[in-house]
């Protein structure tokens, strides 16, 4: 048995200001024996924008991304919802096509909807720090 091994590599796109929280929570969620090895790269379109309006607009990753052998990619960005349904499906298709469908692509809203379906939830309550116009869309 190997002491160390790589199970999967995941590419994750998220707003840079969330890194501290996302990493901490990811370590908390990891099952026993599994850890995360993180490295980060800046995406200019996200890093250089300071206004909420630009920040909240999801953008596709560069064409050459991922270039380090990722087998799975999660394009997490909760404000995908600001584009209106079914935007996450269209975005996932665009991203998958942009990389020749070499790896699976999903989004956080996709995971959330899948969780609702798995748990058979159709009446929920929502709490967020978002502004009202974001929450309502």
């Amino acid at each position: 048995m190997r002491a160390y091994g790589e199970i999967a590599t995941i590419g994750f796109i998220g707003p840079p200001r969330t890194n501290g929280t996302v990493l901490h929570e990811a370590f908390r969620l990891a099952p026993p024996g599994v850890t995360w090895v993180w490295s980060t790269m800046g995406l200019r379109s996200s890093v250089n924008s300071n206004s909420t309006g630009r920040w909240m607009q999801p953008r596709p990753a560069p064409r050459n991304w991922p270039s380090r052998g990722q087998r799975h990619r999660d394009d997490g960005h909760p404000l995908i919802s600001s584009k209106g349904a079914p935007y996450h499906e269209q975005l996932e298709d665009r991203l998958a096509n942009a990389i020749g469908k070499r790896i699976p692509v999903t989004s956080d809203i996709h995971c959330v909807l899948s969780a609702f379906a798995a748990l058979k939830l159709n009446r929920i309550a929502v709490a967020s720090i978002y502004q009202r116009y974001i929450q309502d869309t």
Partner: protein, 67 residues
């Protein structure tokens, strides 16, 4: 999100949006803000089947494990 979820057949019975501006997301929430907000919104929707706490800038796992 509420409209988005509705598109997929999920109805939001009650919600709470704290309306933080971008900089507020870093400075305003405490480690229990998500817990306090979740409790508030659940009190308004006791018939809800589930609670969705949104935004990756919120630390939530400790709060979920509290109850």
């Amino acid at each position: 999100m509420i409209e988005y979820f509705r598109h997929y057949g999920v109805r939001t019975l009650a919600d709470e949006a704290l309306s933080y501006a971008l900089a507020d997301c870093i400075t305003k929430p405490s480690m229990t803000t998500s817990y306090d907000t979740a409790k508030t919104v659940l009190q308004r929707a006791p018939e809800a089947q589930g609670l969705y706490i949104s935004c990756p800038q919120w630390p939530v796992i400790d709060q979920i494990e509290t109850d």
